[in-house]
Every structure is written in structure tokens, then in C-alpha cells.
């Protein structure tokens, strides 16, 4: 009798309005369980989540601390599940009512990403529009970028000194935008090397980037009519270990003494090692990356640094190719829209109660 009385006194309020639903906009295999906090949330250890496939036999599948109101459960698609949520303290546990049955399934469209789709659609539209006009011969203006004007001088200097040019694509994977931009610049540098008969050294850190870089350099030599001058050993795979790569490239810098070092792509902690070693050999150094943590080191140790988006604009600036020029123009229009959206959204956000931030989740 006393036990029943104590249990009644210390019984915990269960979590309220427990509901389970197929996680929206996903690839399936997930169910989201939501609930309202127990009235005793302040004294709880947390919430236990129970799952059943028949609505009778429930097994514990998860635990969350107090103050939490949702849980995502991994499931098998097309199976029926029921859920209960228990409010738990060190002395008591109170289960909610079971939810109605729920099934997980994949969706074709993730509606939460509509804003990204609109952004990409807009930017893509601008880029295609400007590429179309560039191809029709319309003059597209791009302002001078200091680091890129030095590319010609840098290649010329190497030619006059009879020394090689070193080009490092960094540690980025082939899908990194900085690596793709760097590959475009490599193509232009390789063309100049082919034209002036300057030796190019391109040690690589990623196997696939190496394969692409080699093809690009080979094609660049062919494009300027000097396929015979292409040295297959000029582009090679060094190692995919970060500091072994740094040690290797540093060794190449001091032994081969290149007249110019291009450090363009995505870099990590090896950036300063490479830039300082290059500076100590007296080489002209042109660096470019969109890695925010490494940019300060390049700025301090290199002669010219392409900061972030300047790197993306660089390949268009050097090559003047309609495809790339159109892309830069399209990106510029994208920036104008971002600025306009920022100002308009802020006006709405400050002067109205409209939940403007929901558009950017």
C-alpha cells in the first residue's frame, strides 16, 4: 500500500503529444519521433525511445538527455513501426501512449533544399546567359588581378634563368573547386612553358588529381603545337601523405631551385612549410587557395596571392575563354543578388515579424 502511494507521489509526467513520421526529404531508412517535454523535464535524466514492429513488444532503441524533443531512428523501409517515449529519472520511468503505425520510405525531392535549387538555378541561368553572349563575341570585362599579371613575368623569368617552374596543386581532391580552378590555371601555365620551352615540375598528392593534371599538361603542349616537347615525367605522383608531400616538395625546391613556384589549390598545414621553403630559395611565388586558414601564410610568405574567389576568376582571366569568362560574369551577378537579398531580407527581418530566416535553412 505504501509502495503504491509512493509510486503515485513520485510518478513522472509522460512526454506529451508523441508522434512518429517518415523523415521528410530523405533517402528513406529513417523515422523521426517528436514529443513535447514532460512536465517533470527539470528532474529527468532524459527520454528513452522504444520501438515495436507489432505494437506489443517494445525494445529500447535510443536515449536523449532532458530538454530534447526529437529523435531520428534508423529503420528498414516498408516495415511497420510503433513508438513510445519514456520520461526517465533514476527512480522512475513513465511511458507515453504508443504512436500509430508508421513506415519509412525514400522521397524523390527534398523540399527543405528548394532554396538551394533556386540559388543554383539562378546562378546557372546567369552563367549560361553570359557564356552564350561571350561565345557570340561580346566583349566581357574583368578587372585586373595583380597575381595573374605576374604569371607571364614569372614564366619569362624562369625561361631567362634556364630554371624550371614548380606547380603544386595542393592536397585537394579532384572535386574541390579550388583544385578544379588550379587545373585550369595549370593548363595556361603549361601552354606558356611549352611555348618558351621551360621545364615544368608538377608533383602531385592525389592519384586522381595526378591523372587529370597529366592529361591537362599533355593537352596544353599539344594545343600550342609542341606535343613532342611534353615530358611524361614532368607531372608525377609523389605521395598522398600530407607531410611526406611537404617534405618531398621542399626537397625538390632546394635541389632543383625553380625560378617560380605556383602553389595553387587546396592546402592544409603544409602551406607555410612550402611557402617558406620556396621563399628561402629566392623563387617568385604565386599562391592561390580558398582555404581560409592557410591564406594568411601565403599572404605573408608569397609574392602574389590569389584570395578565394580570385582563384576561380584567375583561369578565366588568363585564358580569356568564353566559357570561363561567362562563368565569372555569372558569378558576379550572383554576388549582386546575394547583396540585394541580404539587404532586402534584413529590412523585412527588422521591420516585420515575418520569419525571414526560415528561407535560409
Amino acid at each position: 500500500m505504501t509502495l503504491i502511494l509512493l509510486t503515485a507521489i513520485f510518478a513522472l509526467a509522460p512526454p506529451g503529444e508523441v508522434r512518429a513520421y517518415d523523415t521528410p526529404g530523405d533517402r528513406g531508412e529513417a523515422i523521426t519521433i517528436e514529443w513535447q517535454l514532460s512536465q517533470d523535464d527539470a528532474v529527468l535524466d532524459g527520454y528513452e525511445i522504444y520501438r515495436s514492429e507489432d505494437g506489443v513488444d517494445f525494445q529500447k532503441v535510443g536515449f536523449l538527455g532532458r530538454g530534447r524533443t526529437n529523435y531520428e531512428d534508423e529503420t528498414d523501409d516498408d516495415k511497420t513501426y510503433f513508438y513510445k517515449v519514456a520520461a526517465v529519472s533514476n527512480t522512475a520511468r513513465t511511458l507515453s501512449e504508443p504512436t500509430p503505425q508508421v513506415i519509412s520510405s525514400p522521397q524523390w525531392i527534398n523540399r527543405t533544399k528548394i532554396n538551394i535549387f533556386i540559388a543554383m538555378f539562378l546562378f546557372g541561368g546567369f552563367i549560361l546567359y553570359f557564356i552564350y553572349h561571350a561565345r557570340k563575341g561580346k566583349e566581357l570585362f574583368i578587372r585586373k588581378i595583380a597575381g595573374l599579371q605576374a604569371v607571364d613575368d614569372a614564366v619569362g623569368r624562369a625561361t631567362e634563368m634556364g630554371k624550371p617552374i614548380l606547380y603544386s596543386l595542393g592536397l585537394g581532391y579532384v572535386e574541390d573547386i579550388a583544385t578544379i580552378a588550379s587545373l585550369n590555371i595549370l593548363s595556361e601555365v603549361a601552354k606558356k612553358c611549352a611555348k618558351y620551352d621551360t621545364q615544368l615540375i608538377c608533383p602531385n598528392n592525389r592519384p586522381i588529381v595526378y591523372t587529370v593534371a597529366r592529361e591537362i599538361v599533355k593537352e596544353a603542349y599539344t594545343e600550342v603545337g609542341r606535343p613532342d616537347a611534353f615530358d611524361p615525367d614532368s607531372v608525377y605522383f609523389l605521395t598522398d601523405s600530407q607531410f611526406a608531400y611537404a617534405a618531398g616538395v621542399s626537397g625538390i625546391m632546394v635541389r632543383e631551385k625553380p625560378a617560380t613556384n605556383f602553389l595553387i589549390g587546396y592546402f592544409y598545414a603544409e602551406s607555410l612549410i612550402l611557402a617558406e621553403t620556396g621563399a628561402s630559395t629566392g623563387a617568385i611565388q604565386i599562391a592561390g587557395t580558398d582555404s581560409l586558414a592557410q591564406l594568411p601564410f601565403f599572404i605573408t610568405a608569397c609574392d602574389y596571392t590569389l584570395i578565394g574567389e580570385e582563384l576561380y576568376a584567375a583561369s578565366a582571366y588568363i585564358s580569356r575563354e568564353p566559357l570561363l569568362l561567362g562563368a565569372i560574369k555569372g558569378e558576379d551577378w550572383g554576388k549582386l543578388i546575394i547583396g540585394t537579398v541580404l539587404i532586402a531580407a534584413s529590412i523585412v527581418g527588422i521591420f516585420t515579424k515575418f520569419p525571414i530566416l526560415d528561407f535560409f535553412r
Partner: protein, 213 residues
């Protein structure tokens, strides 16, 4: 002083010193350590990729479990080796095209969300984000500074016009914001590098020479 009797500690310590010797100048000791480092790293990478990637995700499913669909990535992968046969070396462009196309498709939406959508969300001024800044009465000031900083920094990266007039002013303000950000990143990263050096010195003076605990 309590010098370590462990030969592996000695090897690690001597190789560390060989790498450090580069600070003086390039020398045979550095060269040995450099070549050893690259060789070991490559050997390790080959075994790592074989045991952790090729075997479990391609060869086992294809040859042991008989999942024939895996023949497609197998053939695409094999095409990378065609560059060793000059007559059909052009085939290497197929896997390169597939790889770049796939990864760009994956990374562009993710980049758009992380660097554009989320950046806008963090910059837009609302009455609530003034409170959420949790910076007392200065919350409004910081929010406005960030807002102006983002707009001006954007203008610096606008390439379609010369930086003259209004654009010249905003881009100059923008590059000041960018450089302040880099200054902070520089200090933060240098601290992290110093901790790496401390770790190596602890190994040399502690694990190897036993001078410090």
C-alpha cells in the same frame, strides 16, 4: 637523464632530427629522411587502399559474393590504367570525366548551402538575431559590423568593374575586413603549430632523452 633503450624510439628521434636539420640547410640526412618518409607513406597507402577500399568495396562483392553490378565500377577503374598503352590511352578520359562530373555534382549543392545559404542566414539582420548574439547591449553593433563586413567583402570580389568610386571605397573596406579575419586566423593557427612543435620536443626530451617527464 634516462635515455630510452627502445630502438624504435631512437629511430623516430633520429629521423625527427634529420628532418629538423633542414632548418640549417638541405643535407644528406634530410634527404634520407625525406625519401624514407615518402617511401613508407606510399607503401602504407597502397596496403591501406587495398585492404580498406579495394577488397571490401569492390573485389569481395564482385568476385566472392558474385554481385555482377560491381563489374561497372571495376571496368571504369581499369580504364585508368589504359594510359600505359599509348594506342588506347585516350580511354583514360572516360573515368576522369565520370569522376569529375560525379564529384562536382555532389559538391556544388553542398558548397551552395554551406557558403551561400548559411552565410546569408548568419548575416541577415532581424530583431531576434540581435538578441541571439548574446553580447549584451553591443549585440546590435556587432551584428551591423558583420553585415557591413560581408557586403563590403563581397564587393571586393566583384570582378566586372574596376574598383573606383563607390565600389573602390566598399572594396577597400572589404579587404580590411578580410585582412582582419586573416590576422585572427594567422594567430590561431600559429598557436596550433606551436603545440605541434611542443609535442615533438616533448618526445625528444622526454620519451627519448628522458630529460623531462
Amino acid at each position: 637523464m634516462n635515455i630510452s633503450p627502445d630502438p624504435w624510439v631512437w629511430i623516430a628521434a633520429l629521423l625527427s632530427l634529420a628532418i629538423f636539420s633542414f632548418l640549417y640547410k638541405e643535407n644528406p640526412f634530410y634527404r634520407i629522411a625525406e625519401h624514407l618518409f615518402i617511401g613508407v607513406a606510399n607503401g602504407y597507402a597502397v596496403t591501406f587502399y587495398w585492404h580498406n577500399i579495394l577488397m571490401p568495396t569492390l573485389f569481395d562483392p564482385l568476385f566472392r559474393q558474385g554481385k555482377l553490378l560491381y563489374i561497372i565500377p571495376f571496368i571504369i577503374g581499369i580504364l585508368y590504367f589504359t594510359r600505359f598503352i599509348p594506342r588506347i590511352s585516350w580511354l583514360v578520359r572516360i573515368p576522369i570525366g565520370i569522376t569529375i562530373g560525379y564529384y562536382v555534382g555532389v559538391s556544388v549543392p553542398a558548397t551552395t548551402q554551406a557558403f551561400i545559404i548559411k552565410q546569408i542566414q548568419g548575416t541577415v539582420l532581424t530583431s531576434t538575431n540581435f538578441q541571439a548574439w548574446n553580447a549584451g547591449s553591443w549585440g546590435i553593433v556587432w551584428s551591423v559590423i558583420v553585415f557591413i563586413g560581408v557586403l563590403c567583402s563581397l564587393s571586393y570580389f566583384y570582378f566586372s568593374k574596376e574598383h573606383k568610386g563607390v565600389l573602390g571605397v566598399t572594396s577597400r573596406i572589404g579587404i580590411v575586413f578580410v585582412m582582419i579575419g586573416f590576422g585572427a586566423a594567422f594567430g590561431y593557427t600559429v598557436m596550433a603549430r606551436i603545440s605541434l612543435l611542443i609535442g615533438r620536443l616533448q618526445f625528444l626530451l622526454g620519451d627519448w632523452l628522458g630529460i623531462i617527464q
